[in-house]
Amino acid sequence: MNMKEKMRKNEKKIDLEQRYDLLHAHPGILQVELGLDKFPKKLPKKLTLAAIRRIVKTITVVDANSATLRAFATFSIMELEKNFYRLFSPSKKTEGFLRAIVHHSRLFRLEIALQSLRGPIVHVLVCGYRTENKLLLIMVDITAQKREEELDAFDRRQRLVLESLEEKEAVARQLLRIMSHELKTPLTPIQVRLQMLRDGNLGSLNKKQQISVLSVIKNFDRFATLITNIVDASKLSRGALQLALEYEHLEVTIQQVITFVGPTLRKNRIKLILRLAKLPLLQFDADRLQQVFFNLLDNALSFTPKGGTITVTAKKMKNNILVCVQNTGESLHVDELERIFRPFYQVVATDTRKKGGTGLGLAICRGIVMQHGGKIWAEGLQRGGVKILFTLPCNTKKLRIGRREKK
């Protein structure tokens, strides 16, 4: 094989590749002649597509390329000629374009969307002009470019939406940060002064005044809990709650909370059964786990009928500590077992001794437990009542610790 032959072979190869490119990357073109017997002296008043059809006698495709058939979703050029008008939906734009060509003998161009014979819309750039006895239309398929443009526009819109969302989130975060400080600050002087009144630091109160102050304190406590819950839930939702982990005894934490709820237990004649196994020293945030226990017990108390029982158990299971707070009373519907951990979800109990609450208690529990690397879930009991369980890993080395709260 001499050099010349070799080169020729290479050229052929390139040629084939180029043709392949043409087929796939080059746009379909279509050149159509609409033959008129003779240009009518008098044009119909309203040059609609139908009117134009009447003066057109022949339709001939004079040029096409390998991509044409695909672009117009047709099997053959013949089919395209036969069904040429189907491409044009009678819209103002197309009609106006054709009318302009018919009326004026100069070149017009327009981007229009055509209905391909079987399948999607094809965007074409049409150039048209008229001679004495024919209308010539040259169409180039620009669907690909159009789609790219659309995608670009979509991207831009998407980016804008994202940016505005991020901005809104930043504002909300800032707002919550301010709120958590500003909302909590007035609580201190109110609480200090109310308790001073109650404890007689400001002089002794008569019976009526005492009852009034106690009622204010009770409502204030509820209000303060509400604010604390909202602030905590918002912190948890944006991962800003930071744990203060220390090695502690979980049993001690549980006992501390139980002394809190003692009076309520006695008042409602609710029996508390405590089954705490000897647990290993664990690393956890004692304040936060107190909050979890308090919420769980408070929750159980709300749904335990008078004379009922609450059972608290804690034991070691493999690498986890399993804690369970169980109460007698009504069971929950299966759907509700998951839903109760969602923020602002509230169970409608028939025996509601204690109404209100934010519906945030269990959501906060879940957040705190999850941040400790544990799980929390609820189970309904067939004989009535609800069981809420959570785990704490014994090995807490790989804990996710929330972002540091910046001020």
């Binding site: 909590k184 600050t185 201190t188 002087p189 609480q191 200090v192 630091n201 930071q242 203060a244």
Partner: protein
């Protein structure tokens, strides 16, 4: 009478806390900025500095740092009062400043009283 320097930038909080402490027979000097606290510390001695952490300009931490850096005040007892619950990092930083205690606001009056008694005796 034990002397307490109370520092908090919120006037309402400061007033309520000061009245509370006075009702327990403490000699209270209440100031609303770290700068004034520094001035007070230069003039007199206190058994305890009760300090809000989040304050503008010079924070409670800054003030505590000033106290710790001052040789004359090395043994000064400090208790932090904070409206935000401290995370692990926050606790670590504060530990370096060697406070005796820190109390989260809002606090229970009786709880505060018990803690102060433990620190100051009496």
């Amino acid at each position: 009478m034990k002397k307490i320097l109370l520092v908090d930038d919120e006037p309402e909080v400061l007033a309520a806390e000061a009245e509370l402490l006075q009702s327990w027979n403490y000699d209270v000097t209440a100031v609303n900025s770290a700068k004034k606290a520094v001035a007070a510390l230069k003039k007199g001695t206190f058994d305890l500095v009760l300090l809000d952490i989040l304050m503008p300009v010079m924070t409670g931490r800054g003030l505590a740092q000033y106290i710790r850096d001052n040789p004359g005040l090395k043994e000064q007892k400090i208790v932090f009062l904070t409206v935000v619950q401290l995370g692990e990092a926050g606790k670590l930083i504060i530990k370096e400043l060697n406070p005796i205690d820190y109390i989260t606001k809002p606090f229970d009056n009786n709880d505060l009283r018990k803690r102060l008694k433990k620190i100051l005796g009496g």
